[in-house]
Amino acid sequence: MERRVVITGMGVVAPTACSLEGFEQALRAGRSGIRYQPELEALQFSCCIAGKPGLDEGLIARYFDPLELRGFNSSGITYGMIAGMQAWEDAGLPVNLDGPDWDSGTIFGIGSTSVEKFREAIYKIDEGQVRRLGSNSVPQVMASGISAYLGGKLGLGNQVSTNASACTTGTESLLLCYERIKSGRAERMLSGSTSDSGPYIWAGFDAMKVCTYRHNDQPERGSRPMSATASGFVPGSGAGALVLESMESAQRRGARIYAEVCGGNINSGGQRGEGSMTAPNPEAVQRCITQALADAAISPGVVDAINGHLTATTKDALEIQNWCIALGRKGSDFPYIGALKSHIGHCLSASGSIECVAAVLQLQKGFLFPNLNCEDLHPGITEWIDASRVPQQLMEKELNILAKASFGFGDVNACVLLRRYAA
């Protein structure tokens, strides 16, 4: 019999809050984490608003010792470490001090890594100062820096690696960890993903004109997934982390179980058909959803809610259409759908994990968070689904099955099915 996999711990560093508790409060209240960023305006960005976690020194000092902070310059590793450590503590798992825990590992994703540290290093190299890089450049700029930092703190002895698949990264991480436990190769896996903050990470998107430039004077109104007046995404940053564990291990140690991971699918549209480097192939998106349902042995009719990818670009209507076709449900029969990016912007490689944390809270606590800034739903959306399916106020509602999907550049997709856990 295949092993069941559950979620037993979560941590989050988001533009709205840097603790699970604060994050849930903001989620329910529909509080926006988008702020005006003078730094971006000074650098002549078109989009001068963004979502950035507000970290304080005390929180950083809890998870990094003074030596680690010498020459340290990586917002992404900072966010990932704090979220990852919080998740581990939240699961009630020990920080292993004596020897490696052979049954615990991590697959913790990133997009680009420590871009500020990389910049610092490149300036030194170009000035002929190679030797002044010291020893702390490599661990921060290597792609697997985040998993290496976490693995060392926690004494992880199973697989310790980093995945990257653009904005699919976080959801992909969850499924990779799930598969490793399901197949019996690990008992506990720390899933998560992180993304740096700041101009060097956001600039490329600004230059591609995929970010909105119309809301610089109204930051909180700027991130408008599903709206007729959506004009591009608002960049965000942060990290999310989830401890996945075999049901046996969780029950054996009497852990609190948040939800069950029922299955999922990861695929790509091959950049064929309508798919390209930046646009999704709808056939692949639909196939990803239907295959995820099949993998989880869940019929489309019982999906209560969707936590969408929904970025606030012109592709939102297409996403809704893809869900409708894949599930064979539309109008008022469509599940409730939520776009967390309306609160925190598009946290890029971190988005999947932060949104998975929100999705799990929705299932465990039974609520639908308010979708912000979509009072003017796009006609391409209302053509397919009833407006009542897009809650704009907090709704307390028991949910049993939730689908979460993320899509990314490279025409890549991931969809996971989560089930409320009832002991």
């Binding site: 003074p66 030596l67 010498r70 020459g71 030797r131 002044r132 010291g134 020893s135 702390n136």
Partner: protein, 84 residues
């Protein structure tokens, strides 16, 4: 500069890297960076950079390889300072 003065100047430089703070308090010429202070070997290059900055000298690759004890560090710095 007296040996003891060198040792006192090296102490705060070594402090952030030393995992054994007890050994740091009893620093002598014989103290080994790795064996006694339990400094991570990867951090030896950082110690060298910090020593260079504190004494305003430049330490070449060969001297760097030999800089494994407090005594060796003092001798290297002294030689650099006197060859000016």
């Amino acid at each position: 500069m007296e040996q003891q003065a060198y040792i006192e100047k090296l102490k705060p430089i070594l402090a952030p890297y030393a995992k054994d703070q007890e050994a740091l308090q009893h620093l002598t010429r014989e103290t080994s960076f790795i064996r006694d202070l339990k400094i991570n070997s990867a951090n030896l290059v950082d110690v060298v950079l910090d020593v260079e900055e504190a004494f305003d000298v430049e330490i070449d690759n060969e001297s760097m390889e030999q800089m494994l004890t407090v005594g060796a560090a003092i001798d290297i710095v002294e030689a650099k300072l006197s060859s000016r």
